[in-house]
Subunit: 179 residues, 2 copies
DNA sequence: CCGATCTATATCGATCCAATATAGATACGG
DNA sequence: CCGTATCTATATTGGATCGATATAGATCGG
């Protein structure tokens, strides 16, 4: 999903500045399934403006540069809906963690365990964030996305925990002897 | 995980041409968690060669351009391991499907259902492929990655199936009246 | 009151992707 | 036996995108 389409989608929910669009990815329901950087959002908004799919109004501010607030136009709304009706690009999951685990045999003793523990902890945090944000009221789509995310992170966590004992090291000799 | 590191990783498992490296993503255990295109693999291999992290030997062929077979060098192996020991980049999951579902309220009647059904079918296929490729012998890392992938796709499928009735349409009036 | 963080816009270089070009090999149906 | 499609293999190009950085006033906590 290209950045232009993502911007249009967010603007269907209300006007926003480039900065606000970027931040919606961090803390809203969009989290974990879409992302874009400033370096792509600002050029995308400029092009969308040229093409008449969004409009800008500059809100003057004292002692600051203008706030550029973007709104979607009727033709922008049509273009957005049309792009959702076309066949969608495939999902892409890139995991440096899984990649590293593929080569755990080349790494120092116990490093795989450390990687897994770190990753499990991060997953727990994301799961907690998703559960927390689920208390707020949502559109049906946001509810679906939230539940989908929770289902995935929950499954990941369960798998990691089930796998964990396979990476267990022998207890140190002194402790083993004491038992 | 940048393409250079990915190439180095694959070369730790044996020599390969750029073409073979690309294809390993399609049908091996790496599937679904790492990817790279020709447009990034060939330049990456050239740079790695310049830096002495891989070496090339040109195998002559009749009536064809040479096969360029790449091998990882000792310093390449060190560099690869070092990059796995550094903090890893975060996972990135991009899902045009979930993005579209976020805006299902803007789409024609039943389109969300069509999206979900298509996506569920694709997920089933990927799950079957992963289960199938699990019968082949694997390194411990590959086994972990395969199980991890299956756990995720299984959970996705279960969620989609559980959610499906919520998108059920009213049966056509004629059918409803006949009951 | 000072440093840190936040709001906000913007650009640059590096990376990466998708499409395309080339070209012989192989395979398969008509 | 011929045409067409697919495969192996390398490579480039244009465009999209990312990550880092620059700027600068506001605000807030210690």
């Amino acid at each position: 999903m290209d950045v232009r389409t993502i911007c249009l989608g967010i603007l269907t929910r209300g006007d926003a500045t480039g900065y606000e669009i970027k931040n919606l990815f961090q803390d809203d329901g969009y989290q974990y399934f879409v992302e874009a950087s400033f370096g792509s959002i600002y050029p995308a908004l400029n092009r969308l403006t040229e093409e008449g799919l969004v409009s800008v109004r500059a809100e003057a501010q004292e002692k600051r540069p203008d706030r550029k607030v973007y709104s979607i136009t009727p033709s922008g709304r049509s273009a957005f809906i049309a792009s959702l009706l076309k066949p969608l690009p495939e999902d892409r999951h890139r995991s440096p963690f899984v990649f590293a685990m593929l080569f755990s045999d080349l790494l120092p003793e116990n490093h795989a365990r450390a990687l897994l523990d770190t990753y499990a902890a991060q997953t727990e945090i994301k799961l907690a964030q998703l559960s927390e944000s689920n208390t707020k009221p949502k559109t049906p789509g946001e509810e679906f996305a939230n539940g989908f995310g929770r289902a995935i992170y929950q499954a990941m966590l369960e798998y990691l925990r089930a796998y964990r004992p396979r990476l267990e090291t022998e207890p140190p000799a002194a402790v083993a002897a004491a038992e």
